[in-house]
């Protein structure tokens, strides 16, 4: 039996067990008395990892955009023409997978036969099988997925924003790639990526549910083979990334009823200490709530003038590889919102934040953190996201409690400067503003 680490948060009444499996895989089991158990098997490999080598390799390999996502699709096809979904059908588990900028995750949720489903998950993700024919077939399917997102206002808005903010950072790359880039993918290059990134030492298994960690270890023993030690070197080529945004505006026209906009605030101040990153992330959540929540002056003034709709959303993304804040909604006049945003922030920077508002916002962020421990799916996904960034979800309530008014005030002055702002707009076709 491997050495087991037990981590507990008594206030939350939650705990997890962690161990390093003998094959090199890190395993986390978060026991939760629910009907549904949830498992996530993930690799630190996403759309941004398109240039890499192993320590012994001479040269870097560069691969076409969209390949991590393509690989995710192809993993479901097993040798002998069997599909992983067919295997799961024997246990009744509901399976899926997703690829983001920095990771690829395979998952299932089940209400019975958990360990059988876990065997399937561990088995198919560790057994690649690609042929030229199956690769070609997938080009058709993913081509339609790409076209679907081309018509999707939210996806276009997000893409525009990232491409406006960043000049070199690989967050610019579309996770699914383009119809042209995926046409360049073949079986050989898929194997190359697979063998580099789907090494168990680059992966993690997270399970949440009514599950016994000893049984999990036995299942790993049965299915997994020792992974060779290897060092992956990734080239992000973003040393030249400027502090200010690349372009102030990104625009596109789609068949929508009304313009939608996203204001991005680019940030380059990323600590190498994961706890500090987590603290900053939650402090920014508090600050966002103070500035833009439904009780804020910003929201109410724009709302009363019908300049924004109900859904004003805001979020702060903060990981080792990228950091930005964003604010989005629908509006007849995004430029007016932008101007209002700029002057509103200036005014608050001049007058200072309010302590009572800070306390209320802190309550809000604290409560949503507690509520995030209500679903096995949410717990497992949050855990993986945080683990890959070096952080621990059971630390979040304490980190939130430790955030003080002064730190949040400091962020207000350092984060918000006009040269860091960009805006992405999706306009109705035929009503584009010059």
């Amino acid at each position: 039996m491997a050495d087991i680490i037990l981590k507990e948060n008594k206030m939350l009444g939650e705990k997890y067990y962690a161990f390093k499996h003998k094959t090199g895989l890190d395993v986390y089991v978060f026991p939760k008395k629910m009907t549904t158990s949830y498992a996530l098997f993930a690799t630190r490999y996403g759309a941004i990892d398109n240039k890499f080598k192993l320590a012994d390799d001479e040269k870097f390999t560069e691969v076409p955009d969209g390949i991590a996502h393509f690989l995710e699709h192809k993993m479901f096809e097993c040798e002998g023409g069997v599909d992983a979904f067919e295997l799961y059908a024997k246990t009744g588990a509901s399976a899926n997978a997703y690829t983001s900028n920095a990771m690829t995750a395979y998952l299932f949720s089940s209400t019975e036969k958990f360990y059988e489903s876990l065997e399937i998950l561990l088995d198919f993700v560790t057994h690649p099988y690609f042929t030229e024919q199956t690769v070609q077939k997938e080009q058709g399917i993913i081509g339609e997925e790409i076209r679907m997102y081309d018509d999707h206002p939210g996806a276009r808005l997000e893409k525009g924003l990232l491409q406006a903010m960043y000049k070199y950072n690989k967050m610019r790359i579309d996770v699914a790639g383009t119809v042209e880039s995926i046409a360049k993918i073949d079986a050989e290059i898929l194997y190359k990526c697979y063998n580099t990134f789907y090494n168990l030492r680059n992966m993690v298994l997270v399970i949440c549910g009514d599950v016994d960690y000893k049984e999990v270890e036995k299942t790993c023993d049965k299915i997994l083979r020792n992974a060779p030690k290897q060092e992956i070197i990734r080239a992000y080529d973003d040393e030249k990334e400027p502090r200010e945004v690349f372009e102030k505006r990104a625009k596109c026209a789609l068949s929508v009823s009304k313009p939608i906009f996203a204001i991005g605030i680019k940030d380059m101040d990323i600590s190498s200490d994961p706890d500090k990153r987590m603290r900053k992330a939650y402090a920014m959540n508090i600050l966002n709530d103070m500035l833009f929540s439904q009780s804020s002056e910003f929201y109410n003034e724009l709302y009363d003038k019908n300049l924004i709709s109900h859904d004003l959303s805001y979020s702060f993304e903060h990981t080792q590889r990228c950091s930005f804040n964003q604010l989005s909604s629908e509006s007849q006049d995004p430029e007016k919102i932008y101007d209002f945003f700029v002057s509103y922030i200036k005014k608050i920077q001049k007058n200072g934040l309010d302590r009572e508002t800070f306390e209320l916002a802190k309550r809000t962020i604290y409560a949503s953190c507690i509520k995030s421990f209500d679903s096995t799916e949410e717990i497992a996904n949050n855990m993986v996201y945080n683990l890959f960034d070096g952080a621990d979800i059971l630390d979040t309530p304490d980190i939130i409690n430790s955030i003080d008014f002064e730190y949040v005030s400091e962020l207000l002055s350092s984060m918000f400067k006009e040269e860091y702002y960009a805006m992405s707009v999706v306009e109705p076709i035929g009503k584009e503003q010059k």
Binding site: G92, A93, S94, T111, E112, V256, A367
Partner: protein
Amino acid sequence: MITKTLKIAEGVNINYIRTDKFKSNIISFNFITQAQNEAVHLNSMIPLILLRGCRKYPTQSEINKKLQYLYSGVIDTKNEKHGEFQIFGFDIDMLNDKYANGAEITKDSTELLCDIIFDPYLDKGAFSEQYLENEKINLIDTIEAEINNKTKYSTNRCVEEMSKGTAFAVKRFGEVENVEKITPKTLYDAYLKALKTIPVEIYVVGDCDFELIADEFEKRFSNIERTIIAPSFAQIKRKAEKVSEIDEKQDIKQGKLCLGFRTGKNIQDGDYHVAHLFSEIFGASPTSKLFVNVREKMSLCYYCRSMLSQRTGIMLVAAGIKFEDKEITQKAILDQLEAIKNGDISQEELENAKRSLRNSYMQVYDNPSAMQTWTLYRAISENYDIPIGEAEKVEKTTVEEISAYAKNITLDTVYFLKGEDANG
């Protein structure tokens, strides 16, 4: 699932689904009425105007501050179409008191929700004109934004075409021209009418002081004289007379095909589990005939799935495809339906679908709002069981029952949304 139900006023029930699995509790307040063109826009507006302000907290900023104080309680307005019914009201999500350092979240949140529902901010005996003008613009925006999501837009259009002139075709938020005509007075009258005549189901899910919540609502209803106008079930059209072809154009990159079928039955005819199992095998799962054949074997699309509405008796199949692939996709979908009609379902397919369906039924118990919705819809249709009971019925279903169900299915409408420059 329901631990306790109390009748607290004429046509008003409050139900407790007790579970200690969660760190938060929800209260869901639902008016349930017939979907009618004359009233649907007014009813959609009621929750929106109420959330703008109550007598005690006259602005939304004050309401939201109070919610933040109550550890970020979240109140969402609700307005759904469920077949021939309109369901509108509020959902509130509250942190369990034990995480709140002594704050009385349940008590104070219930009072706030009741203030919003029963004690609105009024101006000259009606709703505020300024708030209403604001919310009219928002509601019209919401209606017009329907075109933003092409998949949803095309499935809605297909149902509309299939249900012309019936309650099933009534739009969820109503028509723009009707929203424009709302006045503070007509809205206030509609609000009073709702309080006095529309049946209400309230759900409390979680682990909290149910009696306290029930008492508060009972007190608020006690000074309202209620005479119930109960909604009734609509007749469904059981068979397509002919196939209608509808093509529309927008400036888009991917074509949206939607086939509308009449299943011949709705939930009042029973066999809820047979219909679900059929749908699972046909096109609602990644091992379904549509996914395996139309997507995986033929590589025609990224998604091709069936959606069954058990109230309207309408089944839709939606796929995102190249403009030129319409005919071939349509044929591929119909071929799979034909296979099921002929009983071409392997024992393996049947068992797979049963397991998958049981899994999704059992997952309902891990989600407070899924439990609440299941219970509410069941209260309306009264013709099916709680999830675990349905899972047992699924177990006993045979291939013959499924193919007999499929034999009554007829294609009614082929809706296709294509690009401006697509041929044809």
